[in-house]
Symmetry: D2
Subunit: 337 residues, 4 copies
């Protein structure tokens, strides 16, 4: 940490801060500048001390030097993590594709979806059985019945199943059926839930909260990793900005940035990231071109009658076409998918 | 809903949309404009149909007319809701003040806090026993031990206790000790938790998520109200914007806007809303001046050694002074506090 | 500046950075931490060097210590600046009120506005003769004719005139008629314009750009101050965020923050800050309560027929009532207005 | 426009609104819903009327149906606009590449830059002679001297010159030397400047303001088009959001969205869009993959000593490599560059 003192800070105040820094088990280096004195606090502490130091009137600001996450960091583990679950492989250089409907609505719907996304090249099936809905009056999902239909779709097609879990007490039920546990964007900082999925040995797809910084996102992953579960995939699904012509703003630079900071694979969700079906194909190609490790795409056999997310769901035909374009981009860059 | 067709939409497409609207149980009025045709869909549906209609290529956009929340709306219940729990009364015209430390750290700390905030004029005590922390390596709260200390502080001072509950399975434990259940900003869309507190008959302080729209905020309240719990207080605690000189951006216009839309009382949290202790007193006065129904303020006997949120905690002395200023503003505007 | 090296940085790379820092005329202090090496670069440089150092692969980040603005800073001039122009005085402890219509529309309209806002307690008149409009098809202002009407309104009422100037070549014309030159939010970083008004000796009301950080805002003021014009007022008029229920988000904490960083007075514009007339009165009171030095409010004798900004303009009656409330708040806090 | 009345609106109020709508030259259709009455106002008006109607207390909101821009819209002109200026062609299906330094610093620097970017495949040269700088103490550009060096670089390499113009009075000078006039992001709503470049017959590269909505962006283009200048290129260069790990957030979905709404070509600026050189190559590939019509990239022969933007400038070697990757992606998708 670097403690920047205010211009008028007295010697006594500086000495006091040095003592506080040393009490925290850190070494203090005082650097007297032309207009400010700065105290460099050297040591391994990553958390919790900054705010204590900032509470002093004579301190202008405290600048952390170390990232607050550790196990997720590339520094600690330079090799990229490979997540492999049944039909789904997601790793640097090989793009996995998770596709399917927002909600599981019926056996016919999920079966048709599974078959069609598989035919188009998807390597895992998404589908929500427990649905977090903004309104209490919206369809909340088929629950266990939906999970059973997903399992049946896996039996029929061989596709790994990715499905959301919304509460710690649902984890045992969902992990019975799912191959990958998805943590939704609204739950990215639901720490009890993160710990609960961290205790399982199922792969986790962690969605970025729409207002989460990269540090908060990686710290959420750290909650899961810290429980011993190493199979975490980060999913960029768009952030909330002033833009209203799309549902969210999809920052594809997250892919490259995260690749620099963490060994965890990065999956792009252009369906939620834009909220508009006609923008999804181009964003799939762009995600592949900037070397995302995976895609997760909403596809529905009949978007006009989808119970949820119809406006952002591709038809199976458009999805098949999109996959073809993506494969061309991947091949051009020496990637497989 | 207003369905705006694209300029080139054919008669057949317009007739098809009319049929779809009627299938949804709504009446369709077709208005042929100079450049676009618009279909007004009249009826009571509030949810779920918009996206289906937007999934058609020939539809440019669908504009909802009705707010998606209902029980929370002022339209349904014009009189302001009064929340009264022991020492705390929060209602239009009378400002309740919840103050105390971020975390419960020890008996001495919470007792001293309780006595001092009471002396300064607070009417309820805040303190966290279960702490949602961005980093898994940060202090996670004293848990049940903390709840017991809060109850002891209530016994000693008569102050109602406001404390956070983080997961559905914690609700029975927390409600044993607390007077008001707080839903943290990170959990505003943790629907299982909202339903769980909705099933209790404890008052709830619902914090706005830092990226939540007003509609999402009111729909989160609706989840609680929908379970039969009518004692919901809305807490504006700042939103995430591009501003980085404060921790969050505190939009005080939320107070007036919410008063127009809902009967639920509005509480302002200037501590999280700014993240900087020296900005809190002015924001308290401003909140009173724009007729917030309550304040929630972090106060710590020794911010330099606070385990969490030291940088945004007032000392008891500054808090007492702030309360005095607030009372002057309230009196000038004919409000009590 | 603090230069944080990446974990793997070699001794040669560190020595190279030390040399680069010294080439810039700064002293370098090397601090070897447990996981990173940090180089403190001590000296007076405020600009331009950071990016050069950040361009090295082995540098993780560069943290500036000094604020990039100087003449605007409270450090350099601790006493608050008082702007006094005819009937308008804006200074810490005394609130000036600028009110009037968005556009000058006709003699009758601006005269009636001037008389009514004066009667209600305004101390300056606002009115736009050159109008920056988002659409080229919107009314662009009465231009010089409008300026003449403003001058006539000053003659009739004694109110100082605040009006916008949009381009460097308009400055000579506008300064002939105006008492205060307003720089609109869209022009906050129009540096040629800032320099042009900096060369005059007219007071300037500088509006914050809706996406400007505090540093950028103060640097824009610095452009004006740097030309020798000391009479600069900062105007917070709301920022662009994800919120769409208001036109902009009005961060009142800017008042207190700016008071800590600069000696320049701070004026609040709740009309643009919310965009909704019914939210303006409460935001005026809140601005006074957090010690804004001035208010600028849109008032129109007939908002239903206003050529621009009708939805956010107060009627003279509501404005008079609002001023009364504001005066009560000011008096309660020992402020005059 | 759709005028949504408040629930309690009386018949007299509804009749009054109908009259107001008709006074505006529009036809009014009244639709009585279950909870609200809605008035559809049919006609061609695109501007200025909305706010007048929203100023009525009994009006809940007014929803525009028509986009406020016209000449820029795809509706009016379905074929994509092709901009061709000397060596630079930018049009759907063929990607033009503008590359070069942020500032013109010296003859040697700009000549070396021009030769190297040309060798790597750039088809136009960028370089700033007039520099808008956040701080008045930063280097403000070589001015006319810089323009002459750019012209010399064109003579030497044949590359078309893209350079910024900052004020209306600079237009005659800059257009003497430049092939494309660039409007910087800070000046996107400097309407006097937009009109001034609109009056020339030079192609214009219009950068999106970091807080501009798509509507505002297209209306800014409309200002230029409205003066008769048809050669406008839109440049997405990143928006301001809460993200701070990059300088701006680059929303690539803008490409596809703009292609749907306008016939103007879309150029991506990944240098400003990220602010970090190591993120630029991937964003170039992604931009090509989502069918941007052009790229503008900062390249400097020695970023460590660049006077400005060193941290986001590619070396010529990295740029050459990036171009190679981009060409592969383009070829895979049937695009030329």
């Amino acid at each position: 940490m670097i403690v920047v003192m205010k211009p008028g800070a007295t010697d006594a105040q500086i000495q006091n801060m040095v003592r506080r820094v040393e009490e925290m088990g850190l070494k203090a280096h005082v650097i007297v500048g032309t207009e400010r004195t700065v105290i460099a606090a050297v040591g391994e502490k990553r958390n919790g001390e900054r705010e204590k130091l900032e509470s002093y009137d004579e301190v202008e600001k405290v600048v952390p030097i170390l990232a607050p996450y550790k196990v997720a960091s590339r520094e600690l583990k330079p090799q990229p993590t490979c997540v492999e679950v049944g039909s789904l492989t997601i790793v640097a250089g090989h793009i996995g594709v998770i596709a399917g409907t927002c909600s599981v609505e019926s056996e016919a719907q999920i079966m048709e979806s599974a078959r069609k996304v598989k035919a188009a090249g998807a390597t895992a099936l998404r589908g929500g059985a427990f649905k977090p809905r903004t309104s209490p009056y919206s369809f909340q999902g088929m629950k266990e019945e939906g999970l059973k239909l997903l399992a049946a779709a896996r039996d029929a097609t061989g596709l790994a199943i990715v499905t959301e879990v919304m509460a710690p007490e649902q984890v045992p039920l969902v992990e019975k059926y799912a191959d990958v546990l998805q943590i939704g964007a609204r739950n990215m900082q639901n720490y009890n839930l993160l710990q609960a999925v961290g205790e399982t040995r199922k792969a986790v797809l962690l969605k970025r909260g729409p207002a989460a910084t990269m540090e908060e996102f990686l710290l959420a992953a750290e909650y899961i990793l810290d429980q011993g579960n190493k199979d975490v995939m980060l999913c960029e699904r768009g952030i909330r900005t002033f833009e209203s012509h799309t549902r969210f703003t999809l920052p594809l630079a997250s892919v490259t940035y995260l690749h620099q900071k963490t060994h965890l694979p990065v999956v792009i969700d252009p369906s939620h990231g834009t909220g508009i079906a006609s923008l999804v194909p181009d964003m799939c190609c762009a995600a592949v071109a900037c070397k995302a490790d995976g895609l997760i795409v909403e596809v529905h056999p009949d978007p006009h009658h989808a119970i949820s997310d119809g406006a952002q769901s591709l038809t199976p035909e458009v999805f098949a076409d999109t996959m073809q374009q993506c494969r061309k981009v991947a091949a051009a860059l020496g990637l497989t998918m």
